[in-house]
Amino acid sequence: MNIRGALAGLVLAASTVFGARAAPAPAEIKVGTLYASTGPFAAISMPAYDGIKLWVKQANAAGGVYVKPYHKKIPLKLIAYDDQSNTATAATLYNQLITQDHVEILISDSGSVLTSVAVPIAREHKQLLFDLSGTGAPFFSKDNPYIVLMSLPISTLWPKAQADFLNDVGWRAGVRKVAILYATNDFTGTHAKSLAGYLRKAGKETIVYDQGVPTNTTNYSVLINNIAAAKPDAVIELGYPGNDIAFLRALQDSGEKFRYVFTLFGGFEMHAVLGGAGASAMVGTFTYIPAALYPYKVNYGPTVEQFHAAWDKAYPPGSGVAWGADGLMGYMSGLVIERALATTPGMSQLDLRRAVFALSGKLDTLAGAFRLNPVGAQIGEMTPMGQLRADGPHAVRPVAVYPPALAMGKPEFGPRSGQ
């Protein structure tokens, strides 16, 4: 292995020296990524990986992607490893993609935790990290040009929609006391903190319950009892799909009724949560409306309907691959990368960065507007608030209710307890 690695290094060094002037087009563009087939992040990682695969398949079916420096279409080669939701494994594999596979495009695994270890490694090796959905604010700093966030706004920006909604519409509907229950991981933990921050800053609603529980919590019955004892009007549960399913089921079994109940993945992975919790537990709850459930106007790539149709064709319903926001983010990241390759001035990693930044503010994809701040974080579309309505006995459909510019229906709050 060592000798082979050394030889590969020599060959590469030689080809760099001799290839500097001629710049022959490579036979393929190597795209490297990781996925988690098992563990806590499998639920958000596998769909994203399926989205990337779909993009690669479509691009190669069209003869590859157009790469500007070579003036021709070049097929993509996807190199992907399974990190099994383990950050130590992921770190080794990111290294493998950069140092052994020499990928031109490095896409991180889904979620902040599995992205976090990639940030110093990519920076160390001067490789641009296409950050799929790692929204942790500490990833982005002025002294690190080697990261760019593709889809979601960074997590501190995210909860503003909800805070605004509660302060505005919620307040008028009589919501005064708020309970926040969150899973303690980078993603939902940061989220909960900034939500509480926004609410406190506005100074209208009072937070009567604010508790973190381990991400592997699946038993919410007692927690719900305790929340009920604090008599909140609004209950906001922030967790991964497994948490949301368990919470919604426990809430239904407990018989407690709150005026406003929010879950994160009730919208983001609506179909997965529906499969676990059932429609009756979800009807009337609030959530964010991800791009997968919202028809953004596009100026580049397919609309969400077109994409959904392509998805169902590639992964027929029942094949075990859920349709949701993470799949869309994987696919959409591919689209942006494709566009960047078509416009990049050169093939160096910093050239690619320039190309991506040049797209900021110009692209409207099925995930909404693509806009970056100077450190590479996404500040595009504000995720709208939505409410889930019954769609027949066994399904729900989302209705965007806030902000007014994006709203497609009016929110309905539950009855005041005791009424």
Binding site: D82, A88, Q96, V113, V117, V119, G189, P214
Partner: protein, 307 residues
């Protein structure tokens, strides 16, 4: 008479250290090499306590995690230079080992499970959101300020050298022989004047120290990690299987275990983890039933001395 075994006992580790010292200049996935060094050291560390006293701590990762967090806390709160923080990591593991000394009163399976529970308990404390200001809780640690992959690789290699030295010493000293006597038969060993409690305590502390230093080196090398990585039960499991597979009490056994099994893991385990997990499980079952003393027992059972 023991001298006859000393030379091969010194040669083998020297060979390994030289090979892994040269490796980063030939193979660029340094993190992969680092993982090998990590597991080589952990396997020898576990060998110290399991091979020479018969105690098998399922929660060995607890010391590794303590070391990683000892390093991180020293860097974050005391702004300690990395080498001083390494010492803090080793100290943290030692403190934990001292706290857990009463566990040595338990035997076999109870000890194994109690140590596992102890490691889990430490993890629950470290990862608790209530301690976010101290440990960053479940949100993980970022030490990008001291990030130095090449230097920390060689520090880890030095720790591996230390672990090798400890095992060589145990294999070739009166103290090590006394320990083995305790393992075989505590009652007669005690009556023969060997201090059972002292012997076990020393082996336990040394073993913890190795894991703690390895954990600290890991923290330094990777610089971004989470409590569930630092306390990943898989680390214990891997180290245990490597030692059992190769055969404890020897230098070769754990070494073979890491090179073969971790090699196979990196070769097929990454692409098809479930199949690898299955093979791993089957291997454990087969080993316990048919070769409970590991690969080297194929030789040692024939009276051949294996380094």
């Amino acid at each position: 008479m023991r001298k006859r075994g000393l030379l091969p006992d010194l040669l083998l580790p020297a060979l390994v250290l030289v090979a892994f010292g040269a490796a980063p200049f030939l193979y660029s996935n340094e993190l992969m090499l680092f993982n090998f060094v990590t597991f080589l050291a952990l396997a020898q560390g576990l060998n110290i306590v399991y091979g020479f006293t018969g105690y098998l701590p399922f929660g060995y990762v607890g010391f590794y995690g303590a070391g990683a967090y000892g390093f991180a806390l020293a860097v974050m709160h005391l702004h300690a230079p990395p080498l001083a923080a390494m010492a803090a990591g080793g100290a943290a593991a030692l403190v934990l080992a001292v706290v857990l000394l009463p566990l040595l009163r338990l035997s076999g399976a109870y000890f194994a499970i109690a140590s596992l529970a102890a490691a889990q308990a430490v993890y629950e404390v470290v990862s608790n959101p209530a301690l976010e200001n101290v440990t960053k809780g479940p949100y993980g640690v970022s030490l990008s300020g001291v990030f130095a992959p090449r230097f920390s690789y060689f520090v880890a290699l030095a720790i591996l050298g230390g672990a090798f030295a400890l095992v060589v010493w145990l294999r070739n000293s009166r103290f090590g022989l006394a320990l083995q006597a305790i393992r075989e038969d505590p009652v007669s060993a005690a009556s023969a004047g060997v201090s059972v409690v002292r012997g076990r305590t020393i082996a336990w502390l040394l073993s913890a120290l190795v894991a703690g230093l390895v954990g600290a080196a890991f923290a330094w090398h990777i610089s971004v990690f989470y409590p569930d990585t630092a306390f990943d039960l898989g680390v214990s499991i891997f180290a245990t299987v490597f030692v059992l597979f190769g055969g404890a009490t020897t230098l070769t056994g754990p070494l073979l275990g890491v090179l073969i099994l971790y090699g196979v893991y990196n070769w097929i385990g990454i692409t098809v983890p479930q199949y690898f997990q299955f093979i791993y499980g089957a291997l454990i079952v087969g080993l316990v039933l048919f070769l409970p003393n590991g690969l080297v027992s194929l030789l040692t059972a024939r009276g051949i001395r294996v380094p």
